[in-house]
């Protein structure tokens, strides 16, 4: 056993040279899962078809790995040459033999004395032979992939209880590690950072909320930008040819009470395109100016190269939390299309530049105002997919409305800064959809309805399959063309991340963290 482990470890150390070139061509290694989204474009499609529409019904349990931790794990494992690397929240991470589910090492972040931070975590980035993750007390941590030993750690911001924290999976670009901060409900001012992958030195910071005198600073009344929110809590995407990285920016703060921050509140609820070498803003597009419903723009900005009105065009698409599906030109940020993908009651539509034409009757009030979609949004951070064969975009919809309340908040450091709350609408049952949408038209091709609104993401494979999860704990496979449910298994707890696929020795696996476990399936 010990010999086998040693062999495995040395094999991993030799093979796991994940160069920037490998990351650029991650789709060319369908047996691996090299970044949070699987590749820089985030299409989450894999050219693996051993498991396909004909035999998916035969999927059998391969192994279960118990992290030993409770709750819901939002992590997305990486799989690099047979080894699975995953995080488990609260600064804990591990490496597992992806063939057997046996643990190879475990790492526990050492919190400085007096720090009581806790948070979910969404996973690792890998570059060279080093893994990178963030911790609840906002450190970027670099670990040796072969051993799980700490290489360096770098503080994003000093820890204060109840303020900012970190939870996303870092994004490795060339020689840098990009991360963003969380805390949009705590009166933080958001930022995206880049660190030197070798040393941990911070190389640049992009503040998502500009102050007075800076471009965009005049979109915030008074000094409200200081507590303006705009967290960046989801991993961005990257176009190596354009050398631009795309990040969603979160909600402005206070979430529901906009009177203290009159103006458009840039760059909250926007997509920002940054130069990864310098952190300089190339362009931005704001989906929801002056948001008062917590509709972050943290949903995946998926990069697609499609024929747009007959001409090849570099696009970025997003199913936004505000219930509209957007298509932008990713070189310039030009708005090309925006269409609602579900019932919404806040906008009459979008104007020629993509700015919402407000309904005028959707503001939160002291007595409560029913608005669709709900605070959690029509879409959210759940991973979407794009299948190049069907040319369809697959994503999870939360079909729900909320009653939104507003009350003037007082900012107290370390306390939530919401400006009141939202509540489910009495006697209205929420539900959910897996939606297949034509990204060129915004038209729905098919829907599959879930009993509850989901927090799980999707995966697309060349086997003609879309995998997804639901709030009741089902891992499911669907025919990508028709939406027919072909396979399901109940994993017994709500699913809050997305399945991935990989292959070892010619055998394809489907894996999904669920509760405190990682559950992996394969064919008999």
């Amino acid at each position: 056993m010990r010999t086998t482990l040693a062999l495995l470890l040395s094999a991993a150390a030799l093979a796991a040279q994940v160069t920037p070139e490998r990351l650029n061509n991650a789709l060319g290694e369908p047996q691996n899962w090299l970044t949070y989204w699987g590749d820089y474009s985030a299409i989450r499609h894999r050219e693996l078809k051993q498991i396909n529409t004909a035999n998916v019904k035969d999927l059998k349990l391969a192994w279960i790995y118990q992290t030993g931790r409770g709750g819901s794990n939002e992590t997305m494992p990486l799989v690099v040459d047979g080894i699975m690397y995953l995080t488990a929240g609260d600064g804990v991470a591990m490496a597992v033999d992806a063939k057997s589910g046996r643990e190879l090492w475990q790492y526990k972040h050492k919190y400085p004395a007096g720090v009581k931070a806790t948070a979910v975590n969404r996973g690792f980035a890998i570059l060279g032979t080093t893994l990178y993750m963030v911790t609840p007390d906002s450190w970027v941590v670099a670990l040796e992939a072969a051993t799980g030993k700490l290489v360096w750690q770098s503080e994003m911001a000093p820890w204060h209880e109840g303020t900012h924290y970190a939870s996303l999976a870092p994004l490795a670009i060339k020689d840098k590690i990009l991360v963003g901060i969380s805390g949009g409900e705590q009166g933080v001012r958001g930022f995206i950072d880049a660190y030197d992958a070798k040393t941990g030195k911070r190389l640049w910071r992009f503040w998502t909320i500009p102050l007075k005198g800076e471009p965009g600073g005049d979109t915030w009344a008074g000094d409200s930008a200081q507590r303006g929110g705009g967290p960046a809590w989801m991993t961005g995407t990257y176009d190596p040819k354009l050398n631009l990285t795309y990040w969603g920016v979160g909600n402005p703060g206070p979430d529901l009470y906009g009177d203290v921050r009159k103006g458009d509140n840039l760059y909250s609820c926007s997509l920002v395109a940054l130069d990864p070498d310098t952190g300089k803003l190339k362009w931005h597009f704001q989906f929801t100016p002056h948001d008062t419903h917590d509709w972050d723009a943290e949903e995946t900005p998926v990069l697609l190269d499609l024929d747009w009105k007959g001409k090849p065009r570099k696009l970025v698409v997003q199913a936004n939390r505000n219930a509209f599906f957007y298509v932008l030109d990713r070189e310039t940020g030009e708005f090309l299309m925006g269409k609602p993908f579900m019932k919404q009651t806040w906008a009459k539509g979008l104007d020629a530049k993509g700015r919402p034409i407000l309904d005028g009757n959707a503001e939160p009030t002291p007595e409560g105002k029913r608005v669709c979609p709900s605070l959690a949004g029509g879409a959210n951070w759940m991973a979407p997919s794009y299948n190049p064969q069907t040319k369809l975009f697959y994503f999870q919809v939360r079909d729900a409305c909320d009653v939104y309340y507003a009350a003037p908040p007082t900012y107290v450091e370390g306390k939530p800064y919401w400006g009141s709350v939202s509540r489910g609408v009495t006697d209205e049952k929420e539900s959910g959809l897996l939606k297949a949408l034509d990204p060129l038209t915004g038209e729905t091709r098919w829907d599959f309805r879930y009993y509850r609104a989901p927090w799980a993401g999707t995966l697309s494979t060349a086997g003609g399959l879309i995998f997804s999860g639901d709030e009741d704990g089902y891992l499911m496979a669907f025919d990508a063309k028709t939406g027919k449910n072909l396979w399901k298994v109940s994993l017994g707890t709500r699913i809050v991340t997305a399945p991935i696929t990989y292959a070892i020795d010619g055998k394809q696996y489907i894996t999904l963290p669920s509760g405190g476990a990682v559950v992996t399936f394969t064919l008999p």
């Binding site: 002291p366 009350a407 006697d427 009741d472 089902y474």
Partner: protein, 263 residues
């Protein structure tokens, strides 16, 4: 299926209420009103005079200690649908208590039952209520437990539930009819459901599990499984008096254990 919508007063009335509250207890009451609206009004009504949940304008509220009210909000009331608002912080909780007390001391208490509770107890048995409802461990499982119905529901709500049960069907008691592939038809109350399966409690008290993907139909009933009862005025008053008196000791589960010193 559940069709009663919450009623919110027009803005002017709400503001008047706020002003009123401010006059009686200025300190914190206005902030308390905001906390009340977003956390309590959906059950207790926008004016706290009762909705699905009971009126909070009561002599009991006026006589209670702040700590007692705070405890009820933080911990909920076992055996009723009053949930625990454990996450409400002191900054919100204190103004809310101030607001509730200001209402209790200034408002008119809601209606009280006028009937004879003893006669109502007999009416309860005579009408077969125990076939579906439980008090303590006695009675059926097909309808909501009534052990503490007097402290969990407003009198108006209880009355409506007897004469027009379909006006509001409580969560957990929605009726569903399933027709299986074989043509077999079953009706029961929905205990649990997910994307693919459904679990009902049948009238005989037993659980039954159904596969929604193979069923011919799954229909959520718009009407309550409880029939409306047409009782004489006196019998209804007596029954209401009896039901309102049911706010008694909890004899089931954890609470019983705690009472006996079993943690």
């Amino acid at each position: 299926m559940i069709r009663r919508t919450l009623w919110f007063p027009p803005l002017a009335a709400a503001l008047a209420l706020a002003a009123h509250a401010q006059v009686s207890v200025p300190l914190g009451a206005e902030q308390g009103l905001a906390v009340f609206r977003s956390n309590c009004a959906f059950c207790h009504g926008a004016d706290a005079r009762g909705g699905r949940g009971p009126s909070l304008i009561t002599a009991h509220m006026a006589a209670s200690q702040d700590a007692e009210i705070r405890g009820i909000i933080k911990n909920g009331i076992p055996g009723t649908t009053m949930p625990a608002f454990g996450s409400l912080e002191k900054d919100d909780l204190d103004p809310l208590v101030t607001y509730l007390r200001s209402l209790a001391s200034s408002g008119t208490p809601s209606a009280k039952a006028t009937g004879d509770a003893e006669a109502g107890k007999a009416a309860y048995a005579a009408n077969g209520c125990q076939t579906c409802h439980r008090i303590g461990f006695t009675g059926g499982l097909y309808g909501p437990e009534l052990t503490r119905v007097g402290s969990g529901r407003s009198l108006e709500y209880i009355k409506e539930s007897i004469v027009n049960p379909s006006a509001d069907i409580p969560a957990g008691f929605e009726g569903v009819t399933v027709v299986e592939a074989s043509g077999k038809k079953s009706t029961g109350i929905r205990i649990n459901e997910d994307t693919f399966t459904l679990q009902l409690r049948l009238p005989n008290g037993k659980f039954a599990s159904f596969d929604k993907t193979t069923a011919k139909s799954v229909t959520v009933l718009k009407q309550s499984l409880m029939p409306p009862y047409k009782l004489s005025g006196k019998t209804l008053d007596d029954l209401l008096a009896y039901l309102e008196s049911l706010r008694g000791s909890i004899v089931t589960g954890d609470s019983a254990g705690k009472a006996k010193g079993i943690q």
